[in-house]
C-alpha cells in the first residue's frame, strides 16, 4: 500500500510488481496498447491490460534488477513503426530498432535501455516531386519518389492525414524530418510517416488473387502454387525444411519487396541471410537481393514481448510498400514462436487458458494477421499485394495442435513438410499427398496463357500418377513390386521419375536452386512423353524391366544442374525415342 500512497502524491505512475517480462504499474492513466517507459532506465513497454488502478505492461527488454517503486511514464502513443526511405536492406529487432545501430551503440551483445529510431533521421535522400502546386492530393496519394536502392521508394500522403490542395512542394536533397510538401490546410508532409503496428493500413478494395507468386521451386509453382496476395502455411517438425523453404522464397520469388521475419528462431540463420543476400542476384533485375529486402530478427533468446510485436512490425512495413503499388512477400519464421510468446504473456496475466495453454484469442490473432495479406487496389489506385507465408513449428511434428489447426482454417495454401521425406534427403520435403493449394482455379487462366495451355493438364496428370503410386505402394508393401500388373509397374517407375526429377530440388545447387516456369514445363513434358512411350511399349509387349532399364532416362536428373539445359534435353529425348523404337522392334 505504501507505494500506492506515494504514487498518489506524485504525478507519474509507479511500478508495483515485477515478474519477468510482465510488470504492474499503478497510477498511470493509460489506454490499451499505449507505449510506456518503465523504470529509471526507461525500458520500453506496452499496456496490455487495465484493471482498476492497475495497469499491466509487457516490457520489450529484460527486467532484471528493476524494483517496485520505480517510475513509469506513459507516452500516450501506440507502438508504431517509422516508414520512409531507409527501410530497405535494414535489419531490425521486433520493435524496429536497427540492429546495426545497436551494435554501434552498445557492442556485440544486446543490452537494454537503448533506444534507436527505425530510420536514419540525418541521412539526406534525393526527393523528386511528382505533383505540382495546386494539385489535389488525397490520403495515400503519391506525391513524389526517392531512388532508395534499385527500388523506387514512393512517398505517400499518410492514410490518416486529410488530403487537400498542394500549397508548396520541392524536389531536392532532404532528410526524412524536413517538410517537403505543405497542403493548403497547413499540414506539412515529410518523407517519413508513422503507423501503429496493430492497425491494418487502409486500402480502396481487396481484389481476387489471380496471378501466382512464382517462386522457382518446382513443387510449389508446379503443384501447389500460391497467388500474389495469398496466404500459405508451412508446418513441419524440426529440421524438415521450413527455414530453407522460406529463404528460398525470400530469394527467388518474383515479389518486388521481401519482408523476412525471424520470429523466435536462431541467430545464425539471420546472419546467414545477412551474409548471403547481398551476394545473390535477383534473377529478374540482376541486382543484389538485399536491396529489396527488409529483415526483422527477434531471435529465440531476445525478449519474448518484442517477439510478439515482431510480426506486427513486419506486416506493417509490408503493407506500406504494398501501398506504393508493389508486390510484397512476407515470410514469418516461425508463427509458432509468436503464438508461444502470446501464451507466455497470457499465462503471466493469469488469463483463463484455452487449448494447450494458448490464450482463447489465439485463433482471432492468427486470422487478423493473415487477413492483412491480399491483392488490393491501393488508396492511390494502383495494384499492390502482400503475400504472407508463415512457418509453423508443431510440437513433436503433430499437426493436430492448436497453432497448426487454427492456421489451416485461415490460409489457402498448405505445404506440409514431412520428416519421413527429409530423413531420406528428399528436398523440399513437402508431402505431395497432404499438401494443397486453393488457388488452382483462380490461377488456371494465368498458367494457360503464360506457360502453356498444356500445363494444367500436365499438372493434373502428375498429381494423378503420384496418387496412384501411393495406392500401389500399399500393395507393394504386402506382396512386393514384381506381383503388380505390368502397367502398374510402369506407373511406379513414372512416379519415381516425377519425384526424383521434378519434385526433388536442391536449394544448395547454384543452378537447381531456382527453376523458371519454362524449365519446369520442359521437365514435366519430358517425363510425360517418357510415360506415353512406356505405356505404349508395354502394351506392345515390352517388359517393365526393359522399360525401367532404358538408359537415356538416367541422364534426365542431370539437366537440373545444367543452366542451358535445352541441347542436353533434346539429346536425351532423341536417345529415349530411339531406345523405345529399338525395344519395340525387338518384341
Amino acid at each position: 500500500m505504501e507505494i500506492e500512497a506515494k504514487a498518489a502524491k506524485g504525478s507519474g505512475g509507479v511500478l508495483k510488481r515485477i515478474a519477468g517480462p510482465v510488470v504492474t504499474a499503478v497510477n498511470i492513466d493509460a489506454h490499451m496498447y499505449d507505449v510506456v517507459k518503465v523504470g529509471h532506465e526507461e525500458l520500453m513497454g506496452e499496456v496490455i491490460k487495465i484493471q482498476g488502478n492497475e495497469t499491466i505492461i509487457q516490457v520489450y527488454e529484460d527486467t532484471s534488477g528493476i524494483r517496485p517503486g520505480e517510475p513509469v511514464i506513459n507516452t500516450g502513443l501506440s507502438l508504431a513503426v517509422e516508414l520512409g526511405p531507409g527501410l530497405l536492406t535494414s535489419i531490425y529487432d521486433g520493435i524496429q530498432r536497427p540492429l546495426s545501430v545497436l551494435v554501434s551503440k552498445m557492442g556485440d551483445f544486446i543490452q537494454r535501455g537503448v533506444s534507436a529510431p527505425g530510420l536514419d533521421h540525418q541521412k539526406k535522400w534525393e526527393f523528386k516531386a511528382l505533383v505540382r502546386e495546386g494539385d489535389t492530393v488525397l490520403p495515400g496519394s503519391i506525391i513524389g519518389e526517392v531512388q532508395e536502392t534499385n527500388i523506387v521508394h514512393r512517398i505517400l500522403v499518410p492514410p490518416n492525414v486529410a488530403g487537400g490542395k498542394v500549397k508548396s512542394i520541392r524536389s531536392g536533397s532532404f532528410t526524412i524530418e524536413e517538410v517537403i510538401c505543405t497542403l493548403d490546410s497547413g499540414t506539412g508532409l515529410t518523407m517519413m510517416q508513422k503507423w501503429p503496428v496493430r492497425v491494418p493500413r487502409p486500402v480502396t478494395e481487396k481484389m481476387n488473387p489471380t496471378i501466382p507468386l512464382i517462386t522457382g521451386q518446382r513443387i510449389l509453382d508446379g503443384l501447389f502454387p500460391i497467388a500474389k496476395g495469398g496466404t500459405a502455411a508451412i508446418p513441419g517438425p524440426f529440421g524438415s525444411g521450413k527455414t530453407v523453404t522460406q529463404q528460398q522464397l525470400a530469394k527467388w520469388s518474383d515479389a518486388e519487396i521481401v519482408v523476412y521475419i525471424g520470429c523466435g528462431e536462431r541467430g545464425n540463420e539471420m546472419t546467414e541471410v545477412l551474409t548471403e543476400f547481398p551476394e545473390l542476384e535477383d534473377p529478374k533485375t540482376g541486382k543484389p537481393l538485399m536491396e529489396r529486402t527488409v529483415l526483422i530478427a527477434n531471435t529465440s533468446n531476445m525478449p519474448v514481448a518484442a517477439r510478439e510485436a515482431s510480426v506486427y512490425t513486419g506486416i506493417t512495413i509490408a503493407e506500406y510498400f504494398r501501398d506504393m503499388g508493389y508486390d510484397v512477400s512476407l515470410m514469418a519464421d516461425s508463427t509458432s514462436r509468436w503464438a508461444e510468446a502470446m501464451r507466455e504473456i497470457s499465462s503471466r496475466l493469469e488469463e483463463m487458458p484455452g487449448e494447450e495453454g494458448y490464450p482463447a484469442y489465439l485463433a482471432a490473432r492468427l486470422s487478423e494477421f493473415y487477413e492483412r495479406a491480399g491483392r488490393v487496389k491501393t488508396l492511390s489506385g494502383r495494384d499492390g499485394s502482400v503475400s504472407v507465408i508463415g512457418a509453423v513449428s508443431p510440437p513433436g511434428g503433430d499437426f493436430s495442435e492448436p497453432v497448426t489447426q487454427n492456421t489451416l482454417r485461415i490460409v489457402k495454401v498448405f505445404w506440409a513438410l514431412d520428416a519421413k521425406l527429409s530423413q531420406r534427403r528428399h528436398f523440399p520435403a513437402i508431402n505431395w499427398l497432404n499438401s494443397y493449394s486453393l488457388y488452382l482455379d483462380t490461377l488456371h487462366d494465368w498458367y494457360d496463357k503464360e506457360v502453356s495451355p498444356e500445363w494444367n493438364v500436365l499438372r493434373a496428370w502428375a498429381m494423378e500418377v503420384l496418387q496412384k503410386e501411393a495406392e500401389l505402394q500399399e500393395i507393394v508393401q504386402l506382396v512386393g513390386s514384381d506381383a503388380l500388373p505390368e502397367a502398374e509397374q510402369v506407373t511406379i517407375e513414372v512416379a519415381r521419375m516425377i519425384r526424383e526429377i521434378f519434385l526433388q530440388q536442391n536449394a544448395y545447387d547454384p543452378v537447381d536452386t531456382f527453376c523458371d516456369m519454362s524449365k519446369q514445363y520442359d521437365m514435366m513434358k519430358t517425363i510425360r512423353s517418357f510415360a506415353d512411350h512406356a505405356y505404349a511399349a508395354q502394351v506392345a509387349g515390352v517388359t517393365p524391366q526393359q522399360i525401367i532399364g532404358i538408359q537415356s532416362k538416367n541422364d534426365l536428373p542431370q539437366i537440373k544442374f545444367i543452366k542451358d539445359y535445352r541441347p542436353e534435353l533434346e539429346r536425351i529425348k532423341n536417345a529415349m525415342d530411339s531406345e523405345f523404337t529399338r525395344l519395340r522392334s525387338s518384341v
Binding site: I18, G69, I91, P237, G396, G397, R425, L478, D482, Q558
Partner: protein, 464 residues
C-alpha cells in the same frame, strides 16, 4: 543490508518473503540458516507485498527463523584465466581442493543475447574423426549440435571421442573445453574426469559438476555458469571453446519442478510453457562474433525419455539447435560403435563448412547419395521381413546390401579411430561403387568421373 525474517511460506524450492523494501527482479538472495550456513537464491517475482525467492539448493533447514538478505545485484560469476584446469561445483565453487579463484571479471550469468548483426557465419570445418559426423553431419566451429541419446547408450564415449579428436584443419589456435555436468552419476562423472586426465585435456578444461545427489535446483544455474565462463574464454581471451552440457534432460526436469512449485499452468507433459525460450537462452549462447578471435561450439547431450524423439525435451532442443546427432539403440544392439543413426541426424550448418574451400568438392553430393541409398536400403528391410528377399527386384537387393555395408564399414569405427575427412569421403565412394553407376542420381557426372573408384582405376590404367 537489511535482514528480513518475514518468510510466510515455503513450497518446494520457493520461499515467500513478506513486506520488504523494494527488491529488484532477478536479484541474488542470501538465506542465513540457524546453524550459520548460507543458502543462495534468486528473486522470481517482486512486489511491495511479497517477494518470491527461488532457492538454488534444498530448502531443508529453511524456516520462519531464517534471515533473508537481498544483495542488490543479479547473480554474477567471477571468471579468470586461472579457471582452466579447475573443477567447480554446479554452483561454481571450487571442489578440487585448490585455492579460491581470483577473478579478473565478474559477469552476469544470464548472458545478454548476441546481436544477430554482430555474429559471423560459422563455416570452419571441424574434423571429429568420426565418419557419421564428418562425412554426413559435418560440424562447424560455432555450431550447437546436440547428441540425442537414450539411457544406457554410449553417448558419453562419443562426446569424449569428439572432445579428444576435434580439430580444425591446419589450425593451431588456443582451445579450451568447458564441461558442465547436471545430475549425472558419480560414475559417469569419473568416466569423463579420467579421460580428461589421461589425455591431458584437463589442463585446458573448466569442469562444473552437479551430480545426481546434488540439489536439483542448482542445475538451473550450472549451464549458465559454464556458458558465462565459455564466453569469457572465447570472446575475452580469444579461445575456441567446446562446451559439453550433460545431461540436459536433468536440467529440464529441474525446470519442471520449479514450474510446478510456482503452480504455473503446465505445458506439454507438465513442462513449463516457456521451456523453449528458456532452452534457447542456453543454446543460443554459441557462435562466433565478427572481429573476435574465439568461438563457442556446443555439444549438449540429452537422454530421450523412452527413446522418444517427440518428447518435449529433444523436440524443443531440436527446434533450437543446428541439427542433432541421434544415437540408436538398434545399432547399439547390433554391436556397432558409434551407434549413430544418420537418418534422423542432421547438421544444418554442414553446407557452410564443406565443399571445395573447406573439405572437398564432392563432399555434399557424396553425403546426399549415401543418405539416399542407405534410407532406401533401410526401408527395404521392412519389406523383406514381410515378403522375403526373393520377392525383391535385382535393384532392391543391391540397396538392401548397401545398407548393411554402410552400417558395418561407414558407421562402425573404433573408439580411438581418428579418420581424416578424405579417408571418410573415399570410404563413401568405395561403398557407393557397390551400386550401379546409373543409380547414383544425386551426383553429377563430372564428380563421378573424377572420384568413382571404377573411373579412378581406369584413369590410373590409362596413365600407367
Amino acid at each position: 543490508m537489511k535482514e528480513y525474517r518475514t518468510i510466510s511460506k515455503i513450497a518446494g524450492p520457493l520461499v515467500f518473503v513478506e513486506k520488504t523494501e523494494p527488491v529488484g527482479y532477478g536479484e541474488l538472495v542470501n538465506l542465513a540458516l540457524f546453524d550459520g550456513s548460507i543458502k543462495r537464491g534468486q528473486v522470481l517475482d517482486t512486489s511491495d507485498q511479497l517477494v518470491v525467492v527461488q532457492v538454488f539448493e534444498t530448502t531443508a533447514g529453511i524456516g520462519k527463523d531464517t534471515g533473508v538478505r537481498f544483495l542488490g545485484e543479479t547473480i554474477k560469476m567471477p571468471v579468470g584465466r586461472e579457471m582452466l584446469g579447475r573443477i567447480l561445483s554446479g554452483g561454481g565453487k571450487p571442489i578440487d581442493g585448490g585455492p579460491e579463484i581470483v577473478p579478473e571479471k565478474r559477469l552476469d550469468i544470464t548472458g545478454a543475447a548476441i546481436n544477430p548483426y554482430a555474429r559471423a557465419s560459422p563455416e570452419e570445418f571441424i574434423q571429429t574423426g568420426i565418419s557419421t559426423i564428418d562425412g554426413t553431419n559435418t560440424l562447424v566451429r560455432g555450431q550447437k549440435l546436440p547428441i540425442f541419446s537414450g539411457a544406457g547408450l554410449p553417448h558419453n564415449n562419443i562426446a569424449l571421442q569428439i572432445a579428444r579428436q576435434a580439430k580444425a584443419l591446419g589450425s593451431k589456435e588456443e582451445f579450451a573445453v568447458v564441461f558442465a555436468a547436471m545430475g549425472i552419476t558419480k560414475e559417469e562423472a569419473n568416466h569423463f574426469m579420467q579421460d580428461f586426465e589421461r589425455t591431458g585435456a584437463l589442463e585446458r578444461a573448466v569442469v562444473f559438476l552437479n551430480l545426481a545427489d546434488d540439489p536439483a535446483v542448482e542445475r538451473i544455474i550450472t549451464p549458465r555458469l559454464a556458458l558465462t565462463t565459455a564466453e569469457y574464454l572465447a570472446f575475452d581471451l580469444g579461445m575456441h571453446v567446446l562446451v559439453i552440457l550433460t545431461d540436459m534432460t536433468n536440467y529440464c526436469e529441474a525446470l519442471r519442478q520449479i514450474g510446478a512449485a510456482r503452480e504455473e499452468v503446465p505445458g506439454r507433459r507438465g513442462y513449463p510453457g516457456y521451456m523453449y525460450t528458456d532452452l534457447a537462452s542456453i543454446y543460443e549462447r554459441a557462435g562466433i562474433i565478427k572481429g573476435k578471435k574465439g568461438s563457442i561450439t556446443q555439444f549438449p547431450i540429452l537422454t530421450m525419455p523412452g527413446d522418444d524423439i517427440t518428447h518435449p525435451i529433444p523436440d524443443l532442443t531440436g527446434y533450437i539447435t543446428e541439427g542433432q546427432i541421434v544415437v540408436s539403440r538398434d545399432l547399439h544392439r547390433k554391436g556397432i560403435y558409434p551407434p549413430v543413426n544418420v537418418l534422423p541426424s542432421l547438421s544444418r550448418l554442414m553446407n557452410l563448412g564443406i565443399g571445395k574451400e573447406h573439405t572437398r568438392e564432392d563432399h555434399k553430393k557424396v553425403s546426399d547419395q549415401l543418405y539416399a541409398a542407405y534410407a532406401e536400403g533401410n526401408d527395404l528391410r521392412g519389406l523383406v521381413a514381410i515378403v522375403g528377399k526373393d520377392a525383391l527386384s535385382e535393384r532392391d537387393r543391391m540397396f538392401l546390401e548397401f545398407a548393411d555395408l554402410f552400417e558395418n564399414r561407414f558407421v562402425r569405427q573404433g573408439y580411438n579411430e581418428d579418420r581424416t575427412i578424405f579417408g571418410t569421403l573415399d570410404l563413401g565412394w568405395d561403398l557407393l561403387s557397390a551400386l550401379p553407376v546409373e543409380q547414383l542420381v544425386r551426383i553429377d557426372r563430372d564428380l563421378i568421373n573424377k572420384y568413382h573408384p571404377k573411373f579412378r582405376q581406369q584413369d590410373a590404367k590409362a596413365q600407367g
